[in-house]
Symmetry: C2
Subunit: 137 residues, 2 copies
DNA sequence: TTTGTTCGTGCAACCAAGTTGCAAACTTAT
DNA sequence: ATAAGTTTGCAACTTGGTTGCACGAACAAA
């Protein structure tokens, strides 16, 4: 299990330090996405800057992706195993206006859209807002 | 012309104060979207809080809509005349990674997507990132 | 093994955007 | 004229994000 985490880091060319193993473990346990401030609270005593840089490293190496859900803080989630973060790899995200959680809708790819002349496409951020199944009960 | 601006406010049930007329005028002149900090700079001496509340009022009354383009500051733009800000009224936005401007692609409606069971839909924020025609020259 | 270099971490300081409380100014209704 | 409600200006504050710097661990060359 912990082996799994370590090898995941190595497979993305990230040196598996103690800190990084801990952060990746927390990320793996999430059912929804997590923000830097939320991540901070998951640890007794951890430095914001270190966590910040850890997330950046993870993102640069495509271990995680970030989502701007309009809540004021950027959220993060593990990438799918085969994800290269190309536009065609991207999926839709769902932000619940009640519980404020953001979910990866991994099965729903971001629709391809036809841009006007001379616009080039690099990436897409698509966030659907509404109420999640849990909050609708 | 100035009449036009005043009537636009009235038509949205917003009392046309001096400040609001000025802000709406600036908004009307924009070719791309504008953020609160940018709006602030358009005035010699204007108060952040007042502008902030003005934008909020405008948004609540559906005179403008806001876009979270992931740049760190929320952008604003005038709504189309007939816009009710319902999901079917929404359009895609384009964020240029070079000039950092965000454009309303008013002709490109946000694609309808099929949400998983028990997710309700209230709104969508779709931002395409790339390079704009001006920056590609 | 010793030395020098790179890399990761912790701490503090900082910045920018957004937000709020409060009192003064202004508007509208009585 | 007076009272009540609305808008504005100012200052203070919160939060998320970011950076500089120094220390220590890891690593590689000598
Ligand atoms: Mn995701
Ligand atoms: Mn728009
Ligand atoms: Zn929810
Ligand atoms: Zn551009």
């Amino acid at each position: 299990m912990n082996e799994n985490i370590e090898s995941k880091l190595k497979s993305k060319n990230i040196k598996p330090t103690a800190m990084r193993l801990l952060v990746l473990k927390v990320l793996s346990e999430q059912k929804s996405t997590i923000s830097l401030p939320e991540l901070e609270k998951k640890f007794e005593k951890a430095d914001k800057a270190t966590l910040y840089r850890t997330l950046k490293t993870f993102e640069e190496n495509k271990l995680i992706h970030s989502i701007d859900d309009g809540s004021g803080s950027v959220k993060y989630a593990l990438c799918q195993d085969d994800c290269k973060c190309y536009p065609e790899d991207l999926h839709v995200h769902f932000f619940c206006v009640k519980c404020k959680k953001t979910y990866c809708l991994n099965d729903i790819p971001v629709p391809v859209i036809d841009l006007p002349m001379n616009f080039s496409l690099e990436s897409v951020n698509m966030v659907v807002k509404g109420v999640c199944p849990i909050c609708r009960l």
